[in-house]
Amino acid sequence: MKQQVPAILTTVMAIIMFLVIMLQPLQEMGAEASINRWFQMMGTVALFMGIWNLTRMHMSTIKKKRTNWLFSIWLLIVMYGYMILGMTQGNQNTIYRWFYDALIVPISSTMFATVAFYIVSGAYRAFRVRNSEAAIMMICAVWVMLANVPIGDFIWSSQGWLGGMQGVANWLANVPNSAVSRAISVGTFFGAMATQLRIFLGIERRHLGMSN
């Protein structure tokens, strides 16, 4: 009841889902949409799980007065305040949107923008000619960077032989690159299938609290 039944349920559910997608009569009945809706319902009633986890963790920080416990109090105030505002007034409420646009949007964009800095320091430290592989990666990266900006055209014009820097970059992107990307996706497909079949065939059950 605690372990075997859920393990069997996993496989049975997988078979049902599989058949629903594969068989025309079931598709015609709209079974896929109904099942999807059923699962959405299941997930949606669990919507407070995250709040519960955060509350548990930050309450324990506050109780034990661990570092930054004052920040934890602030987090809980913000979280519950904003949640109550949103749930009672709806997410299109002007005040709710105001805070969303004043904080979540700029903080998210800024966080994303800092990636540019990390790319510079990352490239600076990582792209060293340690071995042939690192050198190849570095040369290709530098090549594309030059080709992507107008200066690439001054070095080797795209009207010239082989289409210039841009032409070579395009060829690399079109031919070997897309072959690599496709080959990796073939591998990924098989890896994903193997991973799922491990659970499907019941030999991987760690998510149900069982050792293998």
């Binding site: 015609e28 998210s108 073939v186 193997a194 030999i203």
Partner: protein
């Protein structure tokens, strides 16, 4: 409900294939692929169970150093961080993640090293807790398990990243593992962790992000290696047998490509392999 039925009926596509299967590109050939892999995997598992030797799997980068790097964390008195942001509970990346999680949690329990797990999905975090708790139990240290270190941070890309970047700087993990499907946050997180001198292992199938992990991490598992490593870590022949099955699948792919090339050379108009794969 009725409305859905009518809508679905009206949108019903062409005649079913073989009388019963949906009529879309690759429906039958896809079915054959699934069933073929299912049988193949089943056979391999049984071969492994019966104790027959299966081909050995090549070493994957970084996996042998996990133990060592957790040992280093123990010596330094710093935690280990294992993070995943975007994968939900029914995603294959989560399935793979549990393999890593269970292995790392087990070693951390034995070494008495703190393990911090961060997830971005409120359902995944519940499963992660189960996996970690079980690993601690198995190591004989159920008391050492601290649920406060299995953390949910809302999975919106940048708030999540802001929180984890802050966490990395404050907790200074000696070992950091980024497992799952990553997006643009990869460069930021890996570089922040590199700047504090953390040993990093990354595994992702998103090829667009691999270069950033290569730039900032010590070990990177590329594409399929993410999945293979999950089974490889368990060192159990039954699990690794599934990798052998997938390998045979890839050999078949090479065979199919070869057949396709031959077919294309003999009669490019007939396109027989292309049609077969479309069926």
């Amino acid at each position: 409900m009725l409305q859905t039925l009518i809508l679905a009926a009206e949108s019903a596509p062409k005649e079913p294939k073989l009388g019963i299967f949906v009529n879309v590109d690759g429906a039958i050939s896809g079915l054959i692929v699934s069933i073929f892999l299912m049988i193949l995997t089943y056979v391999m598992i049984n071969l492994a169970r019966s104790g027959r030797p299966l081909p050995e799997i090549r070493k994957l980068p970084g996996l042998d150093s996990i133990d060592e790097s957790i040992g280093r964390a123990t010596e330094m008195g710093r935690p280990v961080l294992l993070a995943n942001r975007s994968d939900g509970v029914s995603s294959v990346h989560s399935f793979a993640l549990w393999g890593y999680l269970s292995y790392v949690a087990n070693i951390c329990a034995m070494y008495d090293t703190r393990l911090i797990n961060v997830a971005g999905s409120y359902l995944s975090v519940a499963v992660n807790e189960e996996v970690i708790r079980q690993a601690y139990l198995q190591a004989g240290r159920p008391d050492a398990f601290n649920p406060d270190d299995v953390r949910y941070i809302p999975g919106d890309q940048w708030p999540w990243t802001a929180a984890v970047a802050g966490l990395v700087r404050r907790e200074q993990p000696a070992t950091t593992m980024w497992i799952g499907y990553w997006y643009a946050e990869s460069m930021l997180l890996a570089e922040v962790a590199a700047q504090i001198g953390s040993i990093q292992i990354a595994a992702t199938t998103n090829t667009a992000q691999i270069p950033f992990f290569i730039a900032a991490c010590d070990y990177v598992l590329i594409g399929e290696e993410e999945y293979a490593a999950s089974a490889y870590l368990s060192k159990e022949p039954v699990l690794t047998a599934t990798i052998v099955a997938a390998d045979i699948g890839k050999l078949v792919v090479l065979g199919v490509v070869l057949l396709g090339v031959i077919g294309q050379l003999i009669n490019p108009e007939a396109n027989f392999m292309v049609k077969a794969l479309k069926f």
